[in-house]
Symmetry: C2
Subunit: 238 residues, 2 copies
DNA sequence: CGAGTAATTGAACCCGCTCAACTATCGTGG
DNA sequence: CCACGATAGTTGAGCGGGTTCAATTACTCG
């Protein structure tokens, strides 16, 4: 689901390749495909807001989204970044529980919620697939709780870089990971400020653990070192 | 150690009342009940450890558990407290993703994982029920991410007290909420130290927002004030 | 090239942590 | 019943990692 080979090489979006149905039989797939419509969101656009009536479920076809919750005074916590195959809007509540915005140009498959829910009950295996997907998200959320509650800024950044590397290990350059999101998003994902993100990356750069060829790509020169740092085995040497 | 008052007036645990089957037809319920065995855990006991082979799925019949993840150096993040009806061990992975320990005396229903998984595919509606339960956990996890990443100590404590109140609003005394867990657990749940938890509770007590009749129960005198604080609308008056 | 936004860097501050001492509570056994 | 030790919780003093505020530099796109 998160792993997704050569994603950006897809000149035309595969409208039939519904990731939620992966592994289901053809008849089931067509049932689900039947209620899907396509929607685009340009960079920066809001797909839906926390608190809106949850009328649709979405699946990411291409591009990347940020999901976040906010406090009344504007403080944000990004709960996750979603790329091709990711599902959103799946609350069994009446309202969306978070806001979804496009980080890049995004293509979405939209499923009207009422009809989608009916399919979950009718299409054999679909509930099971969604359960797997949701369990995966929950696992990621629990990892993130450990990160937010107990890791230092350095450990957070190291964990984040390795995470992004896992996410789209897309056969490109070996150790180069692309960060489509801004520093602002990184900060709000890790529970830090943009200044701390910037300073921490600068320190990793000085230590030659990473290199920053451009602003939105990072070369993980010393992955072993990053893994030590991410686990809290950072050692005492500054 | 903890007397565990009126709530557990259940002399005999209801072995048939499987919460995961709530709403399923009788035949489905009996299928699930058929593979359940009972297990007890005394206070402080470990049910399973992060990284152990995930051989069983459990359901809490009574009592309370803490689930947590830990870093190599011992830092802990409690990802949740589970009471009657809660499920644990549901990873679709081979290994448990967190450690589960009993906070009070606990009664569990244990389901061998292989057989449980088979039932998920065979019993109609079961996957759907588990999806609902998991979605609920995910929602809670996302709220907790906002708390851990962006709330102040005071906001964390206020949110926590209201959460505990919601959790077992069991018709007992109007505003008295019982905290079965130790300060240590509260701290590791909120990403704070025990000292900060203690100091913050003391401040709320000085402000007459709460009262502490005993160590493990809290009187929410001014719930409105707590809700302001929890949302970050704390106001400027010390 | 120039305006606007994003990112970096520096300096001072502060919230929550660390370290330490003290107090309260509980369980045990004389 | 109290004495005792062990554990949990509270309180205080000082520190420090990360924030805040501010200035500078680097991009991006007309």
């Amino acid at each position: 689901m998160y792993a997704h080979a050569a994603s950006t090489a897809v000149a035309k979006i595969d409208l039939g390749g519904l990731a939620i149905c992966h592994g289901l039989e053809q008849r089931a797939r067509s049932h689900v495909a039947a209620i899907a419509t396509i929607q685009q969101a340009h960079e920066g656009a809001t797909v839906f807001c926390e608190g809106d009536r949850a009328d649709n479920v979405y699946e990411v076809a291409s591009g990347m989204l940020r999901l976040y919750k906010a406090l009344p005074d504007g403080r944000r916590q990004i709960t996750g970044f979603l790329s091709a195959g990711g599902l959103l809007g799946l609350s069994h509540n009446d309202l969306y529980l978070y806001t979804a915005e496009a980080i890049t140009e995004v293509n979405l498959r939209r499923y009207p919620r009422a009809r989608f829910e009916r399919l979950v009950d009718e299409v054999p295996g679909l509930a099971r697939r969604l359960l797997t997907a949701t369990s995966d998200e929950l696992r990621a959320a629990q990892d993130q709780m450990l990160l937010l509650g107990r890791k230092t800024a350095m450990e957070k950044i190291a964990s984040f870089l390795l995470m992004m590397d896992d996410l789209h290990r897309d056969g490109g350059d070996a150790d180069i990971v692309r960060l489509p999101m801004r520093r602002n998003d990184v900060a709000d994902y890790l529970g830090l400020t943009i200044e701390t993100v910037s300073r921490t990356l600068a320190k990793l750069k000085r230590d030659r653990t990473i290199a920053l060829p451009t602003h939105d790509s990072i070369d993980l020169c010393d992955r072993d070192r990053l893994e030590e740092l991410a686990a809290g085995d950072g050692g005492m040497d500054s």
